[in-house]
Amino acid sequence: MAMLHTVNKSPFERNSFDSCLSHAKAGSSILLFEDGIYAVVKGSSASGKIQKASGVSIYALGPDLKARGIGEDQIIGGVTVVDYGGFVDLVTRHDSVQSWL
């Protein structure tokens, strides 16, 4: 089965992102939103961890990036930016959803 994991917390403030990464299986996806989007900022201590996660697709919510002033040129490669409609599609395309609160 393919699971969608969501992370809404800053990877610098909480362990949700680290814990999610260490539990997400190959073939699953992670959607970063709210303060979770900071994990994809280029040059940050968190973004290196993402690049090591193999077989997991990474998504980030565009509206939350924009709100926080993080331009798409500031984020690492390999991340797909989606809007709320894309968030909905991710939920329906995966078999289940786990929120890392």
């Binding site: 809404n8 939103f33 709210e34 709320y84 409609g85 968030f87 909905v88 599609d89 959803v97 929120s99």
Partner: protein, 130 residues
């Protein structure tokens, strides 16, 4: 597809309620059915009609009420969590001898079974929290 949503935090303090609202609007736009929005923990505070946010900011409770009216959204506030935190409908207020109630239009108070039921009857459960 049938989607159920749980909201674990109150309005304003955390973005959870805003994110849930935006997610649900987008899901409705795409033709999905929102079987229920279940408000748990501080999430019950979404259901107070006493809030008066600044005029240049959004009114989260009013947004929920309007979305419910427009699309027949079932907004359920957990009774146990609501009692702890002081969210009451007229029945609850009467039964517990409180002088008034504060629940907003479109919200109803019910038990935790409504969350489990939504989980069983929906294709997906999505949780928004802290």
């Amino acid at each position: 597809m049938k989607l159920a949503v749980m909201v674990n935090e109150g309005p304003y303090q955390h973005q959870s309620a805003d994110s849930a609202y935006q997610f649900i609007k987008a899901a409705i736009d795409k033709g999905h059915e929102i079987t229920r929005v279940f408000f748990y923990h501080d999430g019950v505070n979404n259901g107070t009609r006493y809030g008066i946010p600044p005029q240049d900011d959004r009114n989260i409770t009013q947004q929920w009420s309007e979305l419910s009216k427009k699309h027949g959204l079932d907004l359920v506030v957990c009774v146990a969590a609501a009692q702890r935190r002081g969210i009451l409908d007229a029945d609850e207020a009467r039964r517990h001898g409180k002088s008034g109630d504060n629940i907003a239009d479109g919200f109803r108070i019910s038990g935790l079974g409504q969350l489990i039921e939504a989980g069983i009857q929906s294709d997906r459960l999505v949780v928004f929290g802290d």
